[in-house]
Structure formats: C-alpha cells, structure tokens
Symmetry: C2
Subunit: 211 residues, 2 copies
C-alpha cells in the first residue's frame, strides 16, 4: 500500500501535529506529513515541522486580497505536495463553500467536544456552562457546515464539578493526542470508509468490508 | 433524614420505575414510590405499582377538556400524596409552562442520549443517523424546554457500526436502570444541589458542600 501523504494546517502550538509526527516517526504508520501550513507566523506548529525537516509555510492572510484569494493560496501550495488528506490541527479558520468544492482530497478535523454537542469556538467552556457529565473529542470529515461532517472516531472524558476550562481542556487534549494518530493509522491502513454520513471502520469488530 | 416520597409518571412498560422500586426495596435508599400515574391504561408501569401495593392511577387525557385540565388532574392527584419529587420514567408528554409554574416540587426525567445531543423523540435513532461513536443517557431536572434542564448524571455507551435502533436502545436502557436509582439514592442522601444550571454532587470527589 502506498505511503499516505498528509498536509497539516495549524494556527497554534501544534501539539496534535506533534502527536501525528511522533506516530509517523515510530514507523508503525504508513504515512508522512509532507507539508505544514499556518495562517499565523508565530505558530509553534511551523517550528515543529522545521525541526523534522518538513516544508513549512506561513501564509499571511493580510497578503491576500480576501478570503477567496487566501484559500486559493493554500490550495496552490497544497497541490504541489500531492497529498492524500488535509489534516486540520487547530486551524482556526472556517473554509468557504468554494474552497470545499475546489479541494480534491478529504479534509479531517479534530474538535474538543462530543459532536454534535458544542460546535464552534470554546467547546470546553460551552460544555462546562451547560453542565454535562461527559465531554471529549471528535475526529471528523469536514463538510460545508461548522463541525457537522461525518464522525470518524470520538473519545470520552468525564467532567468534574470542580473543573475549570483549563483542567477540562487538558483532559480532552490528552485524548486528542491519542485519537488523531489513531485515525491517521486507520486511514493509512485503508480501513475508513464512508456510507452516506456514517463512517465505517473495517476490520475492527468484524472482518467485513463496507460497499 | 426524612424518607423521600416520590411520584412516578410513566406511559409504557415502566422498566425504569421497576429499577427504582427494586432499589427502594433493598432498603439501601431512604426513599419510596408513593404513587404511580400514567396517561395510558395499558401501561405495564401501573401493574408494577399494583404488584407492590402502591396506589396507581390511570388518567385518561380524553376524559379532560384539554391539556390544561389534564395537567391539573395530574397535579391534584400528586398533591394528595405530598411528594418530594416527581420522577418521569418514560412519560411521553411535554408539560405546559403553566404546569411547570404550578408544580411545587422538582421534576426529574431520564433521556436516552448524552444531552444536549439528540433531544426529543427517537434519540437513539437520531444518534445512529448522525453517526456518533458514543451515546448514553441523561438524568436531568425538567425546565420549560424539551430536554434542556440541568443535568444531574449521565452514563456513556459505545455505538457500534453494526448497531440497530434496538441494540443501541437496549445498551442504553441497561445504563438507565443503573443511573436512575443512583440519582434517587443521591437525592435521598441530600447530595444533589443546583448552582444556577449546574448540578453539584456533594461528597463525591471532595467533601465540600455547595453554597
């Protein structure tokens, strides 16, 4: 099976990028991050990529005429690297429907809640304010909505009465660092397929393929 | 501490009622179901109550001029029994705001999803159609919305690719039968208190009371 080529887009510290890089380095996953892009110059994600000699690009939104042109800029760089998947790892921008239609490979995102609960920004704070007993994280395909795409995997964490946004976020983040590499591994093994909006993981419970 | 007096309202087989009755019978919980009401003549819940010599009433909505009058009828019966809590166990009616303002004791409900996801009817089917990896059940206080009140406890179950509405419902129901008696136990121990819309369980993680 061919080695998966991944583009990772990140706006921040890139800890999810790191967990994927670590998994790839172990050699247990037939995938590699071939390019990292960020909309923030100071994103630690860019440094992490450079440390691994992975091409890393900062695209400054201010250098483009508008959202459309910025997105075209992203697509142009990504196209050069012939990737199989685009992985969002804390990329703090919502793509336009035009971008979604223009992109030729699936885009995957991780969100710090048990979707469909608590979409959008500050999911951990939303969970605390609602008063749920469990939250978690969700890796999902991106569609044209915000955090509405087909769910690949989820992980659950308890929420405690004395949790703050920080303690809950950290607990969820620890699960994210397990979950995202797990999804990359499943992708690299060709075990993820979509049936309408349902995602089937083949070879987990039963050795049956999905049509 | 005084023995809690519970009214249970149910429309169906009453398996959650049974799990509460069983817990009360064990004598480990300082609570008793003092009256059971149903809007369905054939509700097995009524039989379960009669078996335990608990007063059981069928109130036929058709015998009342309207929703308001039916709800007043319910309140009238409940008032006679001087209950501390009204427990909904598969009661398939949404109360009017007028009822909610008229009732003098907290109302508690169990819902077969991890609220706030999948409110309303057919929560298990909604979860399957969305494609979540985890679902569960939620015991919550009733407010004027549908399944929007403060969450007391939740329990999580996995959702499998080959689940049907029946297999998922059964898995969730098994958790419901653990969760609802657990909430009754906490209530009878006076360990549940509300802080705005957050419910605090005292004496679980830390021995601190909530103000």
């Amino acid at each position: 099976m061919k080695r998966l080529r991944l583009a990772v887009l990140a706006s921040g510290r890139g800890s999810n990028l790191q967990s994927i890089l670590d998994e790839c380095k172990k050699g247990t996953v037939n995938a590699e991050v071939v390019v990292v892009l960020s909309d923030k110059k100071e994103a630690l994600a860019l440094e992490r990529a450079q440390r691994e000699k992975i091409p890393a690009f900062w695209l400054n939104p201010a250098d483009f005429a508008g959202k459309k042109e910025f997105e075209e800029g992203l697509l142009e760089v990504i196209a050069e690297f012939k990737v199989d998947y685009i992985i969002l790892a804390g990329f703090m921008r919502v793509f336009s429907p035009v971008f979604m239609r223009g992109v030729k490979v699936p885009i995957i995102n991780i969100h710090p809640s048990l979707l469909p609960a608590f979409t959008g920004l500050d999911a951990q704070r939303q969970a605390l304010e609602y008063g749920v007993r469990y939250s978690g994280c969700t890796v999902h395909f991106i569609d044209e909505g915000v955090d509405t795409g087909p769910i690949i995997l989820q992980a659950v964490v308890p929420v405690y009465d004395d949790d703050t946004e920080e303690t809950l976020s950290l607990r969820i983040l620890q699960e994210e660092h397990q979950l995202y590499p797990k999804v990359v591994r499943l992708l690299s093994e060709g075990r993820i397929c979509c049936k309408g909006r349902k995602v089937i993981i083949t070879g987990v419970r039963e050795e049956k393929d999905c049509e």
